[in-house]
């Protein structure tokens, strides 16, 4: 056993986990671990606010499926990452957050920059560790990574007191360890999958609802195989957007509050749903009560606690959804089950899809959201990674930006964190430097973490920020127009700042696109740029996101464009 400091042990253990970079910001209580960057191969990527470090680690984790790592100091550094932890927890993203803490003897004394981050973070992390002795650091790191990336992934917090970082101990880096109360459930019960197959085959109007778990477990090929074999149309949750290629004939797109009209319609008409890796969130399902009496529900999820939490189910398959779908594919093969391509249901689905393709009204102006996002889709290579912020632009992206290659679209769907998309896109670009990475943004959200431009420029991480700029907190404005008799309170952004100048002040490229022609050129210029680019696209502040399912109502009751 080699004797070393806790800080050195932290970096050594992280190197063993394959960590190549850390997003972070130093301060008094994490200086010993920062000093170790001088003696190891891990890259440090400096942020301008710890919340952004957490979102970068989150974006990295979602794209690479390995935990991203962020560092913050004690006190305010630690509290600044709370939103990042909560965002990752709500969307089951693997992440390791390492915070400095005041020395053990100072804990509880209201010391300078002391915060009880373990206590504060408890409901928004999958697990947390606070090693009290340097020798406890390696095992905490090993267990932390294991917990963060297995089962239903999530953020893990390591809070390390400064003296634990500084002091030396003989270090053992264990490969083997036990966590008595943690048993991620992987293999499904085959009999339940068998029952699920029978239920699907015997239903007249089956539908697949693919949730975020489908993307987390990369069950793309398996999902496609089940859908194609049984000729089942596929809708997704918003988090599951792009679990299934959205240009596939069986794809109907996301359901939900701002789901595709054809997806919501078909979901409401189905008699049996295979729900994969979803928690049946209110934003996705509205209220199921209206039609659940005739809807049979098969629920596949890796988290046993999700079964029956929000939705009573007829058949539950607990396990990694990819493993469960693999079993299903195998059973279908064994039984040579194959459904006809021209069942009444499939014909109806095709007609409905066709109808909405022709008849959904979009903004008539040249720079309407649909046209802008379709232009982006047209020019982006299909393997490009897209993140979004939260608001109208996010829902327009859901409606009008088709994900062709599964697993290339990421958004803060559960917590709905404005300001997530841009730092997350930086993390995503670090994970996938070989593909274009675009943050589809609104001006309201981008304002929240725009200072990450410094990171993008100084660390040579050339992402593209695509700002649909209505100079308004647009989604709030839409609700005020719809539900509050047009009393517009606290939503006007007053055209401030000028995003082109803002980008330029950071050394990034800033381009304003006021016509389709300019947009075309701007996107092409951004794609070939070596520095981060902000494309500022002024749009009509009165444009609503439609269709819209009002909260607490059924998916079949959509407000449509008039």
């Amino acid at each position: 056993m080699e004797t070393m400091t806790g800080a050195k042990a932290l970096m050594t253990a992280m190197e063993k986990e394959g960590v190549k970079q850390v997003f972070g910001l130093p301060g008094g209580a994490n200086l010993p671990m920062y000093d170790e960057f001088a003696r190891c191969d891990i890259r440090h990527i400096l942020v301008r606010h710890e919340q952004s470090a957490a979102h970068m680690a989150d974006g990295f984790g979602r794209v690479s499926r390995k935990p991203g790592v962020c560092f913050a100091t004690s006190g305010p550094g630690a509290t600044n990452i709370l939103t990042g932890l909560a965002t990752a927890q709500a969307d089951s993203a693997p992440m390791i957050a390492v915070t400095g803490q005041v020395p053990v003897a100072m804990i509880g004394k209201d010391a300078f920059q002391e915060s009880d981050i373990i206590g504060m973070a408890n409901p928004v992390v999958k697990y947390s560790f606070q090693p009290r002795l340097p020798g406890e650091v390696p095992e905490a790191v090993r267990k932390g990574f294991y917990i963060a990336e297995t089962g239903r992934p999530g953020p893990v917090l390591l809070d390390i007191p400064k003296d634990v970082q500084q002091n030396e101990a003989p270090m053992d880096f264990p490969d083997e360890f036990t966590i008595q109360g943690y048993h991620p459930w992987n293999d499904p019960d085959v009999a339940s999958v068998q029952k699920a197959v029978d239920m699907l085959v015997n239903s007249e109007r089956p539908i697949i609802l693919a949730g975020g778990g489908t993307i987390i477990s990369s069950a793309f090929a398996e999902l496609q195989s089940v859908a194609e074999t049984l000729m089942i149309p596929v809708v997704t949750t918003f988090k599951g957007k792009g679990a299934f290629p959205e240009n596939h004939p069986l794809s109907l797109g996301p359901i939900g509050m701002h789901g595709h009209a054809e997806a919501n319609k078909m979901m409401a008409e189905a008699d049996c749903v295979l729900a994969i890796g979803t928690r049946f969130s209110d934003r996705s399902v509205g209220t199921f009560e209206a039609f659940e009496k005739r809807l049979k529900i098969i629920h596949m999820d890796v988290d046993p606690a999700e079964i029956g939490k929000n939705q009573t189910t007829n058949i539950a398959v607990v396990g990694d959804v990819r493993a469960s779908l693999r079993v299903m594919v195998k059973l279908l093969l064994q039984r040579s089950l194959k459904k006809s391509e021209d069942s009444v249901w499939i014909k109806h689905v095709r007609e409905t899809k066709e109808y909405w393709k022709e008849n959904l009204k979009i903004h008539p102006g040249e720079m309407g959201a649909a046209k802008i996002l379709r232009k982006l889709r047209e020019l982006l290579p299909k393997e490009s990674v897209v993140t979004t912020e939260v608001g109208q632009h996010q829902m327009w992206a859901s409606l009008f930006y088709d994900v062709i290659q599964p697993g290339t679209f990421f958004s803060s769907t559960g917590l709905g964190t404005m300001g997530w998309g841009f730092p997350a896109s930086i993390g995503a670009k670090v994970a996938r430097p070989d593909v274009p990475v675009v943050d589809i943004a609104g001006d309201g959200s981008f304002s929240m973490t725009e200072n990450s431009l410094a990171t993008a420029v100084l660390e040579d991480i050339p992402v593209i920020v695509f700002v649909l700029n209505n100079s308004t907190l647009g989604m709030v404005a839409q609700w005020q127009r719809t539900f509050y008799d047009r009393r517009m309170i606290g939503v006007d952004q007053g055209g401030c700042p000028d995003y082109v100048k803002l980008a330029e002040s950071y050394g990034a490229q800033g381009i304003r696109a006021q016509s389709m022609d300019e947009l075309d050129k701007a996107i092409k210029s951004a794609l070939s740029s070596d520095v981060a680019t902000v494309i500022d696209i002024p749009i009509d502040p009165e444009e609503d996101v439609l269709p819209f399912v009002a909260p607490g109502t059924s998916l079949s009751d959509m407000i449509l464009p008039s």
């Binding site: 409901p123 917990i147 008595q180 988290d303």
Partner: protein, 160 residues
């Protein structure tokens, strides 16, 4: 529905906080809680009584089970479980006959009388929560000065 949950946890600092926090953040209610180290000092056993409909109780058990610090979570069947709670009452006495009446009730419920004063006496009662409630109703007319309860301790009966 009233439910008794028996939760075996690792005996580490902060776990009681996490368990109670889970109840708060998931909108469940704790009716009573008792915690103590088991014969193996690496583990503590928490006994929590709670209310909810079937669906809620199942969800509470699942969420507790999901917690990494919990080693075993069981909902105990009341009929196959020995469960008791210790309760101490301080009861007001207005007359000599009050003292006799209270003593009779204490005997009937298998309690013990302590600290008899002219105008008050204390009662120690180990019983089920339902019996404690019944006793409390009976002594209420005399005037209850104070009550302290430990929360339920419970173990499944052998062979049950």
């Amino acid at each position: 529905m009233w439910a008794i949950l028996s939760i075996l946890v690792e005996n580490k600092p902060g776990i009681l906080f996490k368990v109670t926090h889970l109840f708060r953040s998931r909108n469940f209610n704790i009716d009573s809680i008792s915690v103590g180290v088991t014969d193996d000092e690496n583990y503590s056993r928490m006994t929590i009584t709670t209310y909810g409909d079937d669906k809620q109780i199942i969800q509470i058990v699942k969420q507790l089970d999901k917690m990494i610090d919990t080693v075993e979570v069981k909902q105990l069947d009341e009929h196959k479980t020995l469960f008791r709670e210790l309760c101490i009452f301080n009861i007001k006495l207005s007359s000599a006959s009050d003292s006799m009446e209270v003593n009779k009730l204490v005997n009937a419920y298998g309690g013990k009388v302590h600290d008899v004063k002219k105008d008050s006496l204390m009662v120690e009662l180990t019983a089920t929560p339902a019996q404690i409630k019944a006793f409390e109703e009976l002594v209420k007319p005399f005037g209850i000065i104070d009550v302290a309860r430990t929360g339920v301790a419970a173990l499944q009966r052998s062979g049950a």
